[in-house]
């Protein structure tokens, strides 16, 4: 009971600190940018057609899913434990009677609803503002957006426990691996999380008129494989992060 109470305290403490951190400001900028873009493009035309749906989908896939989701996830995912490490306040947590793996899980539990709330909330808002095209898109892309968010949050927690300056490394990953490698032809794109998300999104949108990239270049995975891969990245990332955190010495704290 005491352990559960301590864990709950750490989770709510971490949630509050993340919510009122600079990370929130950092993610509000791209989210606001997307909002302005959606408003300006007027996807909500009364005479909407497949074209509006296709354009809105491409924006959601190429900008929101491939860039905004990783930025949101890295801002909070790396800050959850990395922030305490950078601020050198982690030492106050490590001398409490909470197993280290549970400290990491508490951080993950605090981060996930925050990132999910921001990503899914803004996704819902964009779809609402996009009118009929958005209403069609929301249920189609919701699973992919959810799985991608989970995968990124798990992955960036792994970065946070592994690297001293996790935010910088995660940014390099998000901008280089995800954007560049994720769009290269061939097998190399499989290092990018967004490849799996895009595979699901293109498959979901195709019946509604979305044109996926040429199969010989994009080589999409099946929805089932992509979904399991994203789930595996999320669960594997957080379990590996917990295992590393439980064993690792942080010599730079004091």
């Amino acid at each position: 009971m005491r352990l559960l109470r301590a864990w709950g305290t750490l989770t709510s403490l971490s949630f509050g600190r993340l919510l009122w951190s600079s990370s929130t400001l950092m993610v509000l900028l791209p989210l606001a940018g997307c909002l302005l873009f959606v408003l300006r493009r007027h996807y909500d035309r009364p005479d909407w057609s497949t074209r509006e749906f296709r354009e809105f989908s491409e924006f959601m896939i190429l900008v929101f899913a491939s860039f905004v989701i990783p930025i949101c996830a890295l801002a909070f995912g790396t800050a959850s434990i990395g922030g305490d490490r950078e601020d050198r306040t982690l030492v106050f947590l490590l001398v409490r009677p909470i197993p280290r793996a549970m400290v990491l899980l508490a951080k993950f539990t605090a981060t996930l609803p925050l990132v999910m709330g921001l990503v899914l909330g803004s996704f819902w808002l964009y779809c609402r503002l996009a009118g009929a095209a958005g209403q069609v898109a929301f249920p189609l892309y919701l699973p992919a957006v959810t799985y991608m968010t989970l995968a990124y949050v798990g992955l960036f927690h792994l970065f946070a426990v592994s690297f001293r300056h996790a935010t910088i490394i995660a940014l390099i990953y998000a901008l280089f691996m995800e954007v560049i490698l994720g769009n290269l032809p061939g097998i190399v794109k499989r290092v990018a999380v967004n490849y799996y998300g895009r595979s699901i999104m293109y498959a979901a949108g195709e019946p509604e008129g979305l044109k996926p990239p040429p199969a010989d270049w994009f080589e999409p995975l099946s929805v089932v494989t992509a979904t399991w891969t994203l789930g595996g990245i999320a669960v594997g990332g957080i379990l590996l992060a917990a295992a590393i955190f439980a064993r690792r010495e942080y010599r730079d704290l004091t």
């Binding site: 352990l3 490590l94 009677p97 909470i98």
Partner: protein, 325 residues
């Protein structure tokens, strides 16, 4: 009032008996890559206040980090009572005040201590009660609602101490707890630590300032280059330090006559004149100062300044290190 910390120190390989109220280092070595942080340390620290003294880089922080379970020994073991220091179970018995000056700056001191109490699994009511009690103990009850970002260094030190005490551990590890605290506050903190020692708690206080430790601890561990080079009661360690060589700078008149008289002192190894100053090397500072006092009174020497040039912790530790090797 109990001042005597119980320390048993040994460099020798032997079995160290476990006790529920001891901090035990058993043949502990810690490597940082190719560099040795601490080197084959065996000691048991029992109830009372024990001072951990050493120059920067001597290994004090590594020892404290090992004891607080932030680091794992490369060889040997560190135990807090029956538990490995690395284990979660040991954290119930351990209160740690780090030497860093980092906090959740957005919180007030009261909120911070309360949050730390909650992280020990106490209910809201109990955490609140404990928070008020320790804030009162460290003299922060009235000032606890200040945001930590706006607190002075001394107030932050007190808050660090409060969060270390909030779960009433029997072992306290305090890394430089008195730095930045004014003399009045230092006296209050010392009294608090004496009181806690009187309750049977084991308190290990690290510092690089001898005077701080002198006022506080009876037992002392002196570290240099990763080893414990001296240990024992304050009197024992002080005696060891007082019989060490020393370089003294003296400004006095008549300078030349004083220099001539000093060269006749068998404890003086050399006298050098630099402008109007004398730089005197002595082999035994205690005897030198006794004889110098007599000389001044007897010959009416006008002493304007006398200053030891190598009384810093480094010099003391270098000397003790030489004695060990």
């Amino acid at each position: 009032m109990q001042r005597a910390g119980h320390v048993h120190f040994s460099d020798q390989t032997h079995h160290v008996a476990e006790s529920p109220m001891l901090l035990v280092f058993d043949q502990v070595t810690k490597f940082y890559g190719p560099v040795i942080g601490v080197n084959n340390i065996t000691c048991r620290i029992g109830p009372g206040i024990t001072g951990l003294l050493g120059a920067n880089g001597a290994g004090k922080s590594t020892l404290i980090k090992l004891a607080s379970g932030q680091l794992r020994p490369s060889q040997g073991s560190v135990r807090i009572g029956d538990h490995s220091a690395w284990s979660t179970a040991s954290k119930d018995h351990l209160g740690y005040s780090p030497d860093i000056n980092s906090f959740y700056e957005e919180m007030t001191g009261r909120e911070f201590v309360y949050a730390m109490a909650r992280l020990h699994g106490f209910s809201r009511a109990e955490a609140r009660q404990r928070t008020e009690h320790v804030l009162d103990e460290v003299g922060m009850a009235e000032r606890g609602d200040r945001r930590l970002a706006g607190c002075s260094h001394g107030m932050r030190q007190r808050i660090k101490l409060a969060q270390a005490l909030v779960h009433d551990p029997w072992l306290l590890l305090l890394d430089e707890p008195l730095s930045g605290i004014d003399p009045g506050g230092r006296r209050e903190i010392n009294e608090l630590l004496f009181r806690l020692a009187g309750q049977g708690k084991t308190i290990l206080v690290s510092s690089h300032i001898l005077v701080e430790i002198e006022q506080l601890a009876h037992s002392i561990l002196v570290m240099s280059r990763g080893r414990i080079i001296a240990s024992g009661t304050l009197a024992e360690v002080r005696n060891l330090m007082q019989t060490r060589p020393l370089v003294v700078e003296i400004v006095a008149t008549p300078t030349r006559r004083l220099a001539a008289m000093l060269t006749e002192n068998p404890d003086v190894l050399g006298v050098e004149m630099r402008d109007d100053k004398l730089v005197v090397k002595t082999r035994n500072q205690q005897q030198f100062f006794e004889q110098f006092g007599e000389l001044v009174c007897e010959h009416g020497v006008d002493v304007r300044r006398i200053q030891s040039l190598d009384t810093g912790a480094d010099a003391v530790f270098d000397y003790l290190q030489q004695g060990r090797t």
